[in-house]
Subunit: 214 residues, 2 copies
């Protein structure tokens, strides 16, 4: 019986070492490589061609979503499971769009992670039980905010940008993070604020808290 070959992409060494031991306990899995940043992640993926990449979303050099896109391009047979501490649905949408086959929270139980690996290895898609809900009622939730009779829903990009704005990032930092120009960030920010009738950064922060983006 062949073992599932797993690549760990995670910049927190302590967590990575822990994961390595957790996986080593599984009879049909083995860790074949490690990476502590997004660039190394896709390089390793290309070289090792693992069955699964366990990918932390927040990593230096190249974030998890970008690294996932790269990996899906270079070797489509390699499946990616995103690992994150954030419940924010913006991340979920992003990584799924990037081509990830799984989404597991760091708060999840080990069994969930193991389940996710098995499911994805068989060709399925695994979404963390806690995150599944936010996917279902995601686009129209802001209706409830202030009891407004709903406006146009935000696009995924707008959610991403607005969420980063709420977390205090400057337009420049957001542009770098998302690899787009500052002008585009301005556009998304202005459009999304207009859609939601938010008039200041403080209202954006408030709204983001309401949405659980923080």
């Amino acid at each position: 019986m062949e073992k599932l070959r797993i690549l760990l992409a995670e910049d927190h060494l302590i967590l990575r070492e822990g994961l390595k031991r957790l996986i080593a306990e599984q009879p049909n899995m083995e860790v074949v490589g490690e990476a502590d940043n997004g660039v190394t992640a896709w390089q390793q993926a290309k070289e090792l061609e693992p069955d699964i990449v366990l990918m932390d979303i927040t990593m230096p050099r190249l974030n998890g979503a970008e690294a996932t896109v790269k990996i899906r391009e270079l070797c489509p047979s390699v499946k990616v499971i995103a690992l994150t501490g954030h419940r924010a649905s913006a991340y979920l949408n992003e990584v799924l769009k990037a081509g990830a086959s799984g989404y597991v929270l760091k708060q999840a139980a080990i069994d969930e992670l193991i389940d996710a690996i098995h499911t994805v290895a068989k060709g399925g898609t695994y979404i963390d039980s806690a995150s599944r809900e936010s996917l279902v009622h995601s686009p129209l939730d802001h209706r409830v905010y202030k009891g407004e009779p709903q406006g146009k829903p935000l696009s995924q990009r707008e959610i991403q940008v607005l969420s980063l704005v709420a977390n205090g990032y400057t337009n420049k930092e957001i542009a770098n993070e998302l690899s787009i120009s500052v002008k585009t960030v301005e556009t998304h920010k202005a459009n999304s604020m207009q859609k939601l009738d938010l008039k200041s950064r403080a209202e954006v922060v408030d709204y983001a808290r309401f949405r659980g983006w923080t």
Copy 2:
């Protein structure tokens, strides 16, 4: 030979399980309890009286620093090592002031963590090698090694201003709110950020969350 009794306070279950296995590998250490939030952390600390608490700084209900204060009050013999993914020295100052005896980054090597546990168990203070530098540049750091609380505290006004900044208010809005000039707001903001070694608005937001200002 008696084993060091360790309490794990960490809300990310996956990391916690990993840590448990890492510690189980050490011949002279054992995990005697776990907590996934700040409140449970001090309750468990009181009940179990472990030698060491490995405490994540960002946790639900009560953050790591607050839980540390509580633990130091209730059972002074229990030592706390803070565990964090943040390099910002604001956290370092904060947790040391709260009474922690160690500070280890999640990016650190396992050996560092093990070293930290040994050092602290012997009554010493351990600061992560990567974080130590940020202390060197601060004028008051020699006190840390004497176990004294360190870092210039923020004045009331600075806290007010920084908290409003973190909540997305512009300088102008803050000036109006507090009935002072924009220039004064700039001064308070700059001074407080300098005291805490915060380099961007995003770090201010992060710090504010950590302090529970949001």
